[in-house]
Every structure is written in C-alpha cells, then in structure tokens.
Symmetry: C2
Subunit: 396 residues, 2 copies
C-alpha cells in the first residue's frame, strides 16, 4: 500500500520545533508556551445560562442545518458591534461566520491563491497561519517587524520582488509572536501600498480587544474604501476558544466564492455555538465583559514584564506589548537559544523557540515567545525566576 500525498502536503516538512512543543504539556510544567486565553476570563455562567435557554425554548432550531454564511442574528449582532466599535462599513463588505479564526485564513487562501503564489507576511508570524498558507502550496515572503510593526520600506521591496504575491497577511494588533502593534501611519502606508499594487490585505485581529495599555487604533479594514481588506475577528479570546466561532468581513465581490469555500469545507459552523454567541450580545454587555477581562490581562502582562525586568534584565530584552497574549523575548547574543529552551524544560518551564515562527525554522534565531495568559500569577513569578536560574547554569 503506497500513500501518495498531494503536492502541497508532500512539501510540508515536519516542524523542527514540534519535538520541543510535545513535552510542554507535561504535568508540573510551567506553561509559558501556550496561546490560550486565561480560563478565568471565560463567561462560564453566561454560556451555561444561554445554552440552557436555547435548548429549552427551541432545541430544534439549534440542531437543524444552518446556512453557510452563518446564523443571521449573529451576523447582524457582529455587524452592529463592528460598526460601533471598529467603524467598519458594510456598504461593500459582508460577514461570514467561521469555525474559528484559522478558518478565515484557510478560506482566504483557498479562494485567492494558487500553488506557488506568494503571500507576504510579518516575520515572525503566527505558526498556525503560516502552516495554513504552506498547506496550500503558497510561498511565504517574510518582512521583518520593527517596534511599531511591519517595516514598510521592506514591505515595499517585498512587493516589488514578488509580483505574484496575492495578499499581505498582517496581525496589526499585538502581533503573535512579536507583541508589536502596527502604528496608524504604517496602517495607512500599508493600505496605500496595497492599493498601488492592487493587493489584498488579510488583517487578522484575534487579540485587538485584549488591549491593556494605550489607545485603540483604527483597523485597516476601517480605512478600506476599495474593498481590498479581509478582516478576521474571533470570539476565541473574548469569549472562549473551544466554542469555535469567529468571523470574516469580506468584500462583497468575493462573498459568493467564500460562501462556496465555506460550504465545501464544513457546510456551516455549529448552530448552537453561533446561537450562544448571538444571545450573548442580546442579553449581556459584551463591551463591559471585555473591560473586565482586560483587567486580568493587564495584571498578568505587567506582572510578567515586571518580573522579566527584575530577574532577566541582563540577558533578555523585549518591547512591552500594549495587549495580546505574548511577549517576544530577545536573548543576549551569547546565548544559544535552543540550548536555553532545553535547559528551561529541565527546570519545568516551557517556552516556544522563536524559530517556530520563522519562515525557515532551521535558521538561527535568538528569540523565545512567552505567554502570560495561561500560567497563574504565582507561576509567572516562579517561572521567570527559573528563567534567571537556568541562564546561570548555561554560563558555567
């Protein structure tokens, strides 16, 4: 029996960092390697109440087939919310509900790219999206990030060098893993470049509402007069990830293609899941919930940053993020990153090697990604202290 994989899948290399990631979920491990929101931030009581209401009042409505575009009341609620909070216009765009945020990247890549096409993205970037693009046979073109997001001069060069680029992928708010936020000037500049080169922008915004400092910046989608921005939003970080409800704001001209792509992917997103989120808007103050959970993230982000400043100042540098879930920590040049990550594991502290987020994950990289939302406050302190311990051993 021979199994011939597709051209795209036979090119997917096993991840160089997968082996390290495997051990990060071992018991007793301090989890700085995760990417989950804080479970204390889940509105558990609300979900329980809403689910019970839905299944008591009209269970059949939650159990029948839905339409591919998504549950209409949820689409309307999200639209109203985005108009109010993000100043997004729906004149030339519409909403498609997806099964989690990753599905927006998947549908976009399916609809807009052919194998071999280039996708321009930040480097480092979210491994899940990079793997999604890779799985469609796309060529990744990385553009480095400054403290205020993607380097625009290098973006311009990348566009020039890659006329087969189909879209620019950006996580403008609290980038994963970089922690950086694209400045307003750069948002405008990126949009202008896209316009000049007739490119689409895929704006992935899972963390935008998890702002813990500074002022909210307008999304690139809010500047989109041409219909060239696809905006990906998600309830994974503000409600809960296990519910798998997210959405794409898609230019109307390509909504039919997205709808077909959604249909052939999974027909539609779970109806009960969508109804829970829709009723959450109807019966609760979602924005108030978000300000509540921002307090949790603010506390933890500051705690981890303060601890890093206190205990690891001599070998780690980072840009303090204004939100999100991650700190992108640069190690002193003299430290061999992979060696340090292994040493940390021995101390039961799990972090993600920065190379995981690179386009070529075998190239040298002296960053690690730290997550502060999964561990407890106590473990944040303990873990960072252990990070300082481990470095001493390395220097012996």
């Amino acid at each position: 029996m021979s199994y011939k994989l597709s051209d795209n899948f036979s090119k997917m290399k096993p991840s160089a960092t997968r082996e390290i990631l495997k051990v990060t979920s071992q018991p007793g491990m301090i989890a700085f390697a995760g990417g989950s929101p804080d479970t204390d931030a889940f509105p558990c009581e609300e979900v329980k109440k809403l689910s019970s209401q839905i299944l008591s009042e009209n269970p059949v409505s939650a159990l029948v087939y839905g339409v591919s575009e998504g549950y209409e009341p949820l689409r309307e609620n999200v639209k109203k919310w985005l108009i109010k909070n993000e100043n997004i216009s729906f004149e030339n765009s519409d909403i498609i509900i997806t099964s989690g945020g990753t599905q927006v990247m998947d549908l976009s890549t399916r609809v807009l790219t052919s194998p071999g096409d280039a996708i321009i993205c930040e480097e480092p970037s979210f491994i899940g999206s990079l793997n999604c693009f890779r799985s469609h046979g796309c060529r990744l073109v990385g553009v480095e990030i400054d403290d205020d997001g993607m380097n625009i001069r290098k973006l311009e060069q990348a566009i020039k060098d890659n006329p087969d680029a189909r879209f620019i992928y950006t996580i403008a708010n609290f980038q994963n893993p970089g922690g950086t936020t694209l400045s307003i000037e750069k948002r405008k500049a990126m949009y202008e470049l896209a316009r000049e080169n007739d490119l689409i922008i895929l704006e992935d915004d899972p963390y935008g509402r998890l702002r813990t400092a500074g002022k909210s910046l307008p999304s690139i989608k809010s500047m989109d007069t041409d219909g060239r921005v696809i905006y990906a939003g998600s309830f994974s970080k503000i409600l809960a990830p296990g519910i798998r409800v997210a959405y794409a704001v898609v230019p109307k001209a390509i909504v039919p293609a997205f709808t077909i792509a959604k249909q052939v992917s999974d027909v539609h997103t779970g109806v009960l899941n969508q109804m829970i989120v829709s009723r959450w808007f109807d019966e609760y103050d979602v924005d108030k919930h978000i300000s509540e959970i921002q307090k949790i993230y603010r506390r933890k982000l500051n705690l981890m940053c303060d601890c890093l400043d206190k205990y690891c100042n001599d070998f780690i540098s980072f840009v303090r993020p204004e939100g999100g879930l991650f700190i992108w920590a640069k190690l002193d040049e003299k430290i061999e990153m992979t060696e340090y990550v292994k040493r940390l594991l021995e101390h039961k502290v799990a972090v993600v090697p920065g190379s995981a987020f690179m386009i070529d994950d075998t190239a040298p990289c002296n960053y690690i990604r730290l997550n502060f939302s999964t561990p407890s406050d106590e473990n944040i302190i303990k873990g960072v202290k252990l990070m300082a311990e481990a470095i001493k051993e390395l220097r012996i």
Copy 2:
C-alpha cells in the same frame, strides 16, 4: 479593485440548478428538495440535559482549546461503537473527529489529491462532495449505478482510463441521490479493484444507520486489510446535523497528514459539541435511539413510495430504497424534467432536478430527487398527489 480568484475557484461554474434550489425554501412550499433528517428524530431532551451537565460540572473543560484529532473520550466511544457495530478494526487505522461529514471529503482531497487528479465516483452523487472535489481542482470521473450500486465493469474501465485517479468515492449505503445500496459482492469487487490498482477508497456512510428494510451489509472499511479505505461517519443523521460532529477512520500512515490538514482548516471541532456526543454514548443507549428513529424513517419512506406507486405509477419509476433519506425518481421519457420541476414549483412542491447530481449538470437528465424525511406525513401525501396533478397539465 480586481479580484483574481485561485485557479481552482475560478473554474467553479455557477450551478445550473442553484436558481431552482433558491426558491425551494419559500413559505408554504412542500419540501421534497431537502436533505435534512426528520426533526422529530432529534434527541432534544438528551442534548439539553447533557449540555447542562457539562456546563455545570466543568464548564472550562468545554470552552478551552481542544486537540486537532478530537476529544479523546469521544474518539474512544466511537471506536468501541464501530468495533462492535461495524466490525471495523483499529489495528491499522485511527479516528479523527471532524466538523461534519463534508470535512472528511475536504481533508481527504487536500491530503491526497493535487489539481488535475481524477476522482472516480458514482454518477449521480452527492452534490456537496462533488463540489468539494471540484473546489480542489480535481477531475470527476463518473461511473453509473445499477440497482445494486456502482457498475463494477464500468468502474474497472474508469480505473483503466484514468491512471491519475487518486481514490474511488462511494456512498455504499442508500446512496445520495440514487437510493441504491452496494451489494456485498460489489463491495468485495470494488475493494479488489482498488487493491489491484493501488487505489484508496473513500467510503462515505452518513446514512448507513438509517436502514429501514433488509439486512445490514458489512462496510468496505471492515474488509480493509491493507489500510486503503477512509471511512466517513457522521452524527448528523442519527443525532442532529446542526451539532456538526462527524468522524473519519483513517489509515494510520496518513493520520499525521490528516491531523495537519485538520489543524490548518479549523484547529479542532467545537469541544462542547464533541462532549455532548461523547456523553450521549456514556449515558444513553445510542443503538436503541437508532432503532427508534428507524421507525420514523421506515414509516415515511414507505408512505412516500406507496403514494408514488399509487398516484404517479404511470410516469415515475424508482428502486425502493432500504433506508436513507432519498428516492431517485425516473420520469417517463416523454417528460421534460426541468419543465416538470418548474411546474411543480408553481404547485408549491419543491424537488431537486436530477442534473444537480451529475458531473455535467447541463447534460439531459430525466430524474428528480425526492426527500421524505423533511415533510410531514400529511405533506408527503399532498405533495405526491400534486406531482400527479402537475403531470396532467404538462400533457395538455
């Protein structure tokens, strides 16, 4: 702003039958065009109770990220159930939980085919799967069906003519739309042909448990000693479709590729959804539920077949299915199918033109697909009578 679609999506033609399908959900319409299970067959009370238990006892466990392969207790429950009921062995195979049955077709096509590759399937076949295959740029090779399923001589020829075929797609039980069931001899013959030609079989079995007459036949997967069969099962028809939980039994050698495909598609299937199904196995007698709902389907299938025999005998012929949801009705040669379908719509009876299930949906076709699970008993009788009315007008 120009929107260049992917090679695959720019080749997707708008469906010739979509316009007709659009009007089928109009109010007052007798719905013979649907494909939904009977809502009376949903275990609503059970779902409500299970969901409430899960969200009371440990809500966080239902709201956190899950693993891509699926919720472990559900995987174990499905395995045990398949070993017992379907005699499927897990020595060389494993289970991946998917977001509905269509996702199994999608993952299989992603992992195993490249654009231009051929997929051999029954013709007619399920439009959702055909569109999924098309969306990946695959070339569909149709093999006609006899009363006992795919014509094996023609399958052999199709394999010979298409050395680039990657797999055989079959709905062996109560085919959609054909209503036919692949005989045991043909199952063996198909497996042998696959073996001789080193082909994979994608066995789609959403309706297998909805048997209303005759004896269950062993699945092709149960004969699979080589690990060349991917088996797609679903809870859409035995529990409820809106919950979007299905599964693939996949040869172990390609489980890693399937897991990556699942990960980049939607990370994992909703956890609450999976927990509800898993607890359904723990706390209820799933097989007893299935025998209960089989009574509903038996009653409705026989009612529609009897009505067709009584009122439409002179212009419609069909093979009485032993289960499933559909009757594949052949119109008298003198009837122009599209004209008849339009006339039926005027009488507020919606059916699906058979051409929708053909590889070339513009070719002549004198079949219509009738669904008996969606309409009430009363509407089945009324609708079939109207079918007889409408034919009289056509003959004037």
